[in-house]
Point group: C3
Chain length 139, copies 3
């Protein structure tokens, strides 16, 4: 049993889902581990990780419409507003989605379902530099 | 340290929570690992995994009522409707719940709390065949 | 590769977020594992685990205001009310947040982002004793 650890930086350009499946799949292939467990971790509190449908881009836009209606920007409920009206909604979105994802690796590949992609969900309206930690354990 | 990897198929009969605790507990016991980490992964985007109260079935029905009100079928907000009016709500429910669960194993058993069960949450109105990936690492 | 397993008990005093970052960080340091994966698991169905902003306490209060509005106590939707009007909302909050968190360990430390803290989110109005399971694997 061995482990590999890494971090990869992604640039976002504002509130949306960013498909990082290719980058993750290609990193896993390079580690030469046939069976194991991959964990992705996002060390931020206003962006999150999500497994979602990777086929119809309308799904991602519908998802964003839903979160935007559920947690409206400028909601008078929120008092933490010094960093902008999109900041507190970003923290709530992060609480409702995932900060960490663990996915089995089999035959040297990350075991996603046919219609699954791995996404960074950027919750701030401005673009940000987002770091993802990779951890893979197996043999 | 060793690892075991498997996949088990479950049949659902429409939108509801399905208790898979027994199947998970019995699989773990068979692996002969005393201390370790179990990870369950669902390779689908319209069903999810959930740890919930396993005692009063009304909890599960209340949970379903809540999600049904929060993400109404036929909501004009959603444009991804070609696969049916229950499809986009299913993706949103998946985003709000878990795709992956990691649970410590101790004394050869999955360490659930007294009132915890492991459930597949089927979000589509029709029944589906749902695959769960199992990964256990330990000694 | 080795693993360490433990459980630590925390007392809460009612519905709020409780910062356990220091306790987690200090436990990890003691294990003498340089690189690995830490998993925290909460064996309860009316409290959850959350990674959130650790700087402005108003963020935590805003988060609580949001969940309180989203899942109102005494909602006539809920039929599971025998354990109190805060019980079913607690189960829904648990479903919407995390029961388990996996965080990479690097250089002997849990790899949290600069503004990230680890919190127990107590969802019941009364104080409770909450157990957290710790599992660390690495070398």
């Amino acid at each position: 049993m061995i482990q590999q650890s890494d971090e990869i930086v992604f640039k976002t350009s504002g509130r949306a889902l960013y498909d990082i499946t290719k980058e993750v799949a290609s990193w896993v292939k390079k580690q030469n581990i046939q069976t194991g467990l991959l964990t992705l971790y996002i060390p931020h509190t206003s962006a999150s990780l999500l497994i979602q449908e990777n086929y119809d881009p309308e799904v991602l836009r519908d998802l964003e419409r839903f979160f935007n209606r559920l947690i409206p920007q400028g909601d008078p409920l929120f008092r933490h507003t010094t960093e902008g009206s999109d900041d507190m909604p970003a923290h709530v979105r992060s609480a409702l989605t995932a900060t960490t994802l663990s996915i089995p690796v089999r035959r040297g590949q990350v075991s996603l379902g046919t219609w699954q992609g791995i996404f960074i969900y950027e919750h701030r309206t401005a673009g940000h530099v987002r770091k993802i930690l990779f951890h893979l354990m197996g043999e």
